[in-house]
Symmetry: C2
Subunit: 255 residues, 2 copies
């Protein structure tokens, strides 16, 4: 049987250790094509480049057997360009990451890594975004390897058309991951605390900063599962309709 | 009774006619504070500015009674900054738009206008994104006025905690809007057709272009409702969990 065709991207950029790690793993199970941003595109969400053009070039970064393309656009641009111009057929899977930092709970809506996976799902391609709860550029990803391979192989084999948001606890030499759990997105939000500064000319500018608040008490919330040292797996939809509100809304608006 | 406090933003920029139109309407029903991007931020989705700082200054653009702030960040940055640094209390409502162009169907996930409304909803603020199916900078918005006022007043009065994606058909002098309908997000996607060009130095670059495909046959899809010359109103959730897939996924992964 032909090897599955796997498209890989991320939002930390083509040189990010998390992406390089994921490429090595995927090379063991499929034919890999990487189309990734040429620099950091974190928190770019589902942004696309429409007011200016962008560039893309074939690159060779290591001795792996993957094909690689570096692109000046966003993660979603990378997926769109791959599907339209680079791949000769629809991939069997799109994987994104491994993100340096959490995409659990509300982080999913800001994440470029997850937006790339979601974009693939819009085109009916099964997809997985992998993220590690560690922002460090030298983070240890190895404890995730077996889970990544297992989840990827099972999704590929099932041909289930799903987009998965998979988050891993930070590596801890004293405590192994306890397993994985299918979860829902924990209710939570960031409370912003802008850092206000003056430039050398005396003009004000702001750095976005903040604190994450998990307001979800459910044992099945992804953040709560991660807090207990399990891998969380949330199936993600690109249909944003809040179906539970439709009847109330009709009443309020007197439709 | 005190007037409701209404935060206004958009993604077309603080000078966009759609925003100026919305400010005039909102001035008739509330105390208005505008915090909007200083230039076009279309298709920025839920992007936030984290790798560089951004600026924000008070501006006066017309003789309206609103307070206005122009910000170098994305639409979501504008909402975050407004809530954290500009407003002295939580607003009663956040309205975003009027967007020059459709945010129906899959467009909602790329839209900066809708991301701003969604960000407000993350902070438990009722919100509405208004969009017109006309990209023209000189588009006629007046046929939407009565609907905008009616929907806004009803949502304010109800105190229903919802985020609405409201789209208006393009103005047509020969055919009046037939009414409004509460809808779901139509299934659809963009098929990309990248425009490939060479710069003067002979290097390749791409312009993103494409064609929207509506694959939803349901009468209650927002695109389908718009096609029949009704206003579409979709309640939007920021919980992306695909709940219908959870049981299947547990089986596939042998949780």
């Amino acid at each position: 049987m032909d090897l599955p065709l796997i498209l890989i991207t991320n939002d930390d950029g083509i040189d990010a250790p998390g992406l390089r790690h994921l490429i090595k793993l995927m090379n063991t199970i499929g034919k890999v094509v990487v189309v990734a941003p040429d620099g950091p595109q974190s928190a770019q969400s589902h942004a696309i480049t429409i007011n200016k053009p962008f560039r893309c070039k074939k690159v060779k970064i290591d001795n792996g057997k993957q094909l690689e393309f570096s692109c000046s656009g966003t993660p979603v641009d990378c997926v769109k360009l791959a599907l339209s111009k680079i791949l000769d057929r629809k991939p069997d899977l799109c994987v994104s990451g491994i993100n340096h930092g959490s995409n659990a709970s509300i982080n999913v809506i800001y994440s470029g890594t997850m937006a790339a996976a979601i974009e693939a799902s819009v085109h009916d391609i099964p997809s997985i975004g992998f993220s590690l709860l560690d922002h460090d550029v030298n983070a240890n990803f190895s404890h995730a390897d077996n889970y990544i391979l297992k989840i990827t192989k099972k999704l590929l084999r099932s041909k289930f058309n799903s987009c998965l948001n998979v988050n891993f606890p930070k590596y801890n030499s004293k405590s192994n991951i306890k397993g994985f759990k299918v979860a829902h997105q924990s209710k939570g939000k960031w409370i912003e605390e802008f850092d206000e500064r003056l430039d050398p000319a005396g003009n004000k500018y702001f750095w976005l900063t903040g604190k994450f608040i998990n307001s979800d008490k459910s044992e099945k919330g992804d953040q709560n599962i991660l807090d207990k040292n399990f891998v969380s797996i949330v199936p993600i939809s690109h249909d944003l309709t809040h179906n539970d509100q439709i009847i109330d809304l009709k009443n309020i608006l007197n439709e």
